[in-house]
Symmetry: C2
C-alpha cells in the first residue's frame, strides 16, 4: 500500500491501526516515506486517535505533521516528546494540563481547535473502543454532602474579584437568554431571569425556594421585579456573603433570605422551586434526594424549574474540565434529568434547549476574560490564565458542536390545573 | 370500633380491609348496623377499593350506599349482583362493559363520575397492592407488524361516516391547539397544524415524511399552506382512501403522496419527520425500530416532531379503553418517549405538554357526539353508543385530572445548528 496515495486520504485512519495514519504528511520530509522518525509516527497516531481533525502538529524538532493535502489553519506546537506521549495516552485529560503549563502552544483559533478535535473525537469514538477507554478514564467523583462543599469551593470560592472581571455586572454565572443575538450580556442575563420567572409564572407575594443561588442575582430579581419572597441556598461562603450584602444594600433582607447551607436542608412549603445551574453539580446518585426536597417543599399548586447543562446522551464531562475546573460535575441527559421528577407524580409542562444561547454567553465571557487577561495573570499566574482560557474556549466549542446542551425543565404536580394555557405569555 | 363514628370518615378505608368501609352509609337502614346485607358489604367494599370517591351506589334492590354524611351528586345504579361482583373484581375493565351493556346507569355527570373515580383510584393505588393488581390485569398486547394492522383496523376502520359525525370538518383525530380557549374546534385543529409546522420550521419545497397520517389533514395542510412535499403513511385503508380522494380533489397528488403502508417501510431522505398521534400506538418494544426509521429518513439538517398522548409515569392505559377502544395502545411517559431519541445523537429542542388542550378537544368531540347520538345508534347500536360516550367522557376526565398528558417533542440531529434561536416565532 502506497502510504502517500491521495485517494487514501482519511481512509486508513478508520482501520484504527496505530501508526498507520498513512495519509499524514510531513513538511520537511515530503515523499521520503522511508525516513520517518518515531516522533513522526507518534504524531500521526495522535492525529489518528483524534479522528484526523484538520489540525497540524509541529514538534519540538520543527517537523510539522498533518493529514491531507494542505496545511490546516490551526497548528499545535508540542514542545517535548513526553508531552506528545501523554497526549497520545489521554488527549482529553492531558491537553488541558499541557496547554495550561505552556507545554503546547496553539497558533490559530483556540475555539476552532477544540471544535475540530471534538468532531474528530466523535468520529473516532463511534469506533467503540475509544469511547470505552474515555469512559474508564473519566470515572466520576461522588458528591456526598461534605464532598460537595469541597467541590464547590474549588470553583466558586476563587474569589469574587476574579468573576467580576468577566461576568456581567450582577455576576450571573449561568447561560443567558439572548431574546435577540445582538443584545448585551447584561441585557441577556436579565432576559434569562425574566424568562424563568415567567415560566414559573411568579406572582407577587409568592414564596420561592432557590437551590443554588450563585451570587444571588436571580433571588434579588424575583423579589424586586416580581414581588416574591425568596429563600435562597448556596454552600459557597463568598457567594452568600456577596448576595447578603446586595440584599442589605437594596434594603430587601426581609424579602430575600440568603442561607449558607446545602439546599437539601431546606424546610417549609413554597409556591415555586427554582434551580438554575445547580443540577449539573448534583450527581445522578443524589437525584432521589433532590426529588424528596422538591416534594417536601412544593405546594400542591406549586411550579418548579430546573435549568441545567445537559447532554444528548449520558456521557461524562470532559475529563480535564471535571478534574481541573469543575470537580464532581455531571451534565445529565434529558432522560436522566427527568429521573428527578418521574417517580413522583410531576408533570413536565415545558422543556427548552438553550444550547446556542450558552455558546453565545460563553463567547461574551471569553471576550471579557481576554480583555482582563493581564489582571487575571496578576491575581493568579500564567498557568491559571491559560487553564481558564482553554476552559471557556472549550465550552464555546462544546455548546456550538452540540456536545453540550442547556435544558430548562418546567414542571408542576400532576393534578395542578393552574398551569399556563399556552407559552405565549413568554413572548408577549 | 364504632363503624358509624363520623370521626372515622375515610379513615378505615385506608386499612384495605374488604368490607370494613365502616363509614359507608345506607339510606334505608341508617343506624341499623346489625341489619347489613351481603350486597351492602360488597357495595361498601367497591367504594373502598375505589378510594371512597364521592359517588353513591344504588343497588338493584333500591338501597343506596355511599361514604360520608350527605348523598353525592353522582349516583351509579348497579342493576344486578353479578354486575356488582364483577365491578369489585376489576372496576377499571368491567365498568366500561357494564355501562355499555346498560347494566349500570349513571345519574349525574359522566365526566365527573370518571374524574372522581380516577382520583379515588389514585389514592387507593398509592397503597401499593392495587397498583400491582391493575398492572397485572392490564398486561399489554404487542404490536408486531401484522398485529398492528388488526389493532388499527379495530379503531380507525369503523367507517369514515362515524367520525364525520363528531370530528372537525377535516377529520383531525388528535389533540387540537386552542391558542385561546374560545376558538372553534375547526380553528383549533388548524391552529394545531400550524403549531407543529412552525415548530419544525417547515419551508417551501422541503420534503416531509409523516408517520401515521390519519385522514390526511396535516399532510394536505403542509403541502397547501407551507409548500412542502409530503409522503404520508397510514395502514388504515379507509383513511388512506379518504386522504387520496382529498388530494385529488385539491389537485395536489403530485405534492402529497398517501401510502397505505406501515411507516417502518418508509424509504428516502427528508427534511422533516412528522408524527402526530401515532406513537401511542407503537409499543415501547418497537421504539428502537422507530428510531432506526427516523435515522434512516432524516437529513443531517432535518427536524422531527413526535406528538403523542403520554403519562407522567409509566403506567398502562385504562384496561377497558385498551381492550374495547384502542387495542395495543400505550401512552408513554416522557422518559419513555425519549428512548426513541436518546441512544442516537438527537438533540431535544422543545417539549410542550398540551394536556388541557386535549381535555378541551375531547369536550368538543363529546358535545358533537351527543348531538349525533341518534345517528350513532342508528349506524351501530345502543351498546356502541354508550361505549363511545364513556370513552370520550372518560378521556376528558383523564386529561383534566392529569392522568394523561399530551407531549409534543421537537428534535434535530445533535450537530445541527440551523435551529430556531427562540420559540418566539410560534407566537408572533
Amino acid at each position: 500500500m502506497n502510504r502517500e496515495d491521495p485517494q487514501l486520504l482519511g481512509v486508513t485512519s478508520q482501520q484504527g491501526e496505530v501508526g498507520a495514519a498513512g495519509t499524514a504528511r510531513q513538511e520537511d520530509a515530503r515523499g521520503q516515506s522511508s525516513g520517518r522518525s518515531i516522533e513522526e509516527y507518534l504524531a500521526r497516531a495522535l492525529l489518528d486517535s483524534l479522528g484526523n481533525p484538520p489540525i497540524s502538529l509541529t514538534l519540538w524538532n520543527g517537523k510539522t505533521v498533518y493529514v491531507g493535502q494542505s496545511k490546516p489553519a490551526v497548528d499545535v506546537r508540542v514542545k517535548s516528546r513526553s508531552c506528545l506521549v501523554k497526549l497520545l495516552l489521554n488527549p482529553e485529560l492531558y491537553f488541558g494540563d499541557a496547554y495550561s503549563d505552556g507545554l503546547v502552544e496553539v497558533d490559530g483559533d483556540l475555539v476552532k481547535l477544540v471544535e475540530v478535535a471534538y468532531q474528530g473525537l466523535a468520529r473516532a469514538r463511534s469506533a467503540g473502543l475509544w469511547s470505552r477507554v474515555i469512559k474508564w478514564l473519566n470515572r466520576r467523583n461522588t458528591n456526598a454532602l461534605a464532598e460537595s462543599r469541597e467541590n464547590i469551593h474549588h470553583h466558586y470560592d476563587l474569589g469574587n474579584e476574579f468573576y467580576k472581571l468577566w461576568l456581567d455586572r450582577q455576576l450571573v454565572y449561568t447561560c443567558a437568554y439572548f431574546a435577540s443575538p445582538d443584545i448585551t450580556l447584561e441585557q441577556a442575563q436579565i432576559a434569562k431571569m425574566d424568562h424563568v420567572c415567567r415560566k414559573i409564572r411568579l406572582r407577587p407575594e409568592e414564596s420561592v425556594v432557590e437551590a443554588g443561588c450563585g451570587w444571588g442575582a436571580l433571588a434579588l430579581h424575583m423579589a424586586t421585579q416580581y414581588g416574591a419572597r425568596v429563600k435562597a441556598f448556596n454552600i459557597s461562603h463568598e457567594q452568600i456573603a456577596y448576595a447578603k450584602a446586595r440584599a442589605r444594600a437594596l434594603g430587601i433582607e426581609h424579602r430575600v433570605e440568603f442561607i449558607e447551607d446545602d439546599y437539601r436542608n431546606a424546610s417549609g412549603r413554597f409556591d415555586a422551586f427554582m434551580s438554575v445551574g445547580m443540577l449539573e453539580h448534583v450527581g445522578p446518585e443524589y437525584y432521589p434526594e433532590l426529588r424528596r426536597v422538591i416534594d417536601r417543599c412544593l405546594d400542591p399548586n406549586g411550579r418548579g424549574l430546573l435549568h441545567s447543562i445537559g447532554r444528548n446522551r449520558p456521557n461524562p464531562l470532559n475529563a480535564w474540565v471535571e478534574k481541573r475546573i469543575f470537580p464532581g460535575a455531571y451534565p445529565p441527559s434529558l432522560r436522566e434529568m427527568l429521573e428527578v421528577l418521574e417517580d413522583w407524580d410531576y408533570s413536565v409542562l415545558d422543556v427548552e434547549n438553550l444550547r446556542l444561547h450558552y455558546a453565545l454567553t460563553l463567547k461574551h465571557w471569553l471576550q471579557r476574560f481576554e480583555n482582563s487577561s493581564g489582571k487575571v495573570k496578576e491575581m493568579y499566574d500564567e498557568r491559571f490564565l491559560r487553564a481558564w482560557r482553554l476552559y471557556l474556549a472549550g465550552s464555546i466549542a462544546a455548546f456550538s458542536n452540540g456536545d453540550m446542551q442547556l435544558f430548562q425543565v418546567l414542571f408542576a404536580r400532576g393534578a395542578n390545573n393552574d398551569i399556563p394555557w399556552t407559552r405565549g405569555h413568554l413572548y408577549s
